[in-house]
Symmetry: C2
Subunit: 202 residues, 2 copies
């Protein structure tokens, strides 16, 4: 991963131990915000779950708002990093989208709190909400365009297709990742890949 | 429309005048909740916008929670009713999905508050949130199955496809309806219809 874990401005950790502490705080924040929602969540709830002193929290973050903002960015980056290797390893453009969806639903099943946190950012921190989806859509647009350039996909793929693909993935993750995981991820991914390859026409 | 407008239990209006008052309260509630969010919205803000006395509010609703719940149901029904005629009039299954998306984005441009309200229901009233999407997905599943039975669509269309279509529509409505309406609705709908017809494969 080519990124620093997010902390408040000027508070980035400088040591490996510091990075581990920050990682622990963000993981604890995901549970705290995911279980309690933004308004009921507390900094002391986060530090208790992380097993760190209150001072350690303020070493990295200025406020509850700041750790929430960092968490949205962190979850967005985590999804990207979790999905990327399978997408890169896929043999063609449709297989890449199939792999992306499969990895995404798998990630969601292990991190069901991600929906509540990203969705609540629409109200708590609208800039983070918008940045998450705008960034994700740009990434998908570039991926589709690269696959089109290689001859895998139709030449006119665009931002509209990217938003369509992102919307599918988000709602399939909600239905088959968060709500109910009795349907196989591979089955869902195969169905969508076939739809992306050939459409729903007869 | 074959439905009664929603009020609290036992509080349904019995006269045409009552139905108009209730309609005015729900329209005012959409603006109040859409602009201020659930927590900052108030019953007095709703009655002021609707131009009705506080007593009229309590004729139809028990509480702020009750009018919010009714509003989510009402917006869900409004979308359905707005989209239905064009979907029914479409000559085939792909054209029906195209018409549904076109009508939906058009509706969103006129009612941008719908996203904030439905999205906030995930936190304020999770049962309403779930009911809205489960009901919408069931409707799309039936529509796709009927089109498949007529030979318009592939025979194996399923709930997975319905959730994919719903997710596309929701995110395209967010991008091209709420965020920015400089791209033509027909252009977006044509692009998605072509993708549904033939896929993204070369």
């Amino acid at each position: 991963m080519n990124r620093a874990i997010t902390a408040s401005d000027g508070k980035a950790p400088r040591t490996e131990r510091g990075r581990r502490t920050l990682r622990g705080i963000l993981d604890a924040a995901a549970i705290e915000f995911g279980e309690r929602g933004f308004h009921d969540a507390s900094i002391s709830g986060i530090t208790r779950r992380a097993g760190v002193a209150l001072g350690s929290f303020y070493t990295y973050f200025d406020s509850k708002d700041a750790v929430f903002r960092a968490l949205v960015r962190d979850m967005s980056d985590q999804v990207r990093d979790h999905v990327a290797p399978a997408v890169r390893a896929a043999p063609d453009g449709i297989a890449a989208e199939r792999a992306g969806l499969e990895q995404f639903i798998g990630f969601v099943r292990q991190h069901k709190e991600i929906y509540r946190i990203i969705d609540e950012s629409e109200f708590v921190d609208p800039d983070s909400f918008r940045l998450h989806y705008a960034t994700t859509a740009e990434r998908i647009t570039r991926r589709l365009a690269a696959a089109a350039a290689q001859g895998d996909l139709r030449a006119d793929v665009s931002e509209v297709h990217a938003w369509a693909v992102m919307g599918m993935n988000v709602f399939l993750g909600l239905r088959y990742g968060v709500w109910d995981d009795d349907r196989g991820v591979e089955d869902v991914a195969d169905t969508v890949a076939e739809m992306l390859r050939s459409g729903l026409g007869r």
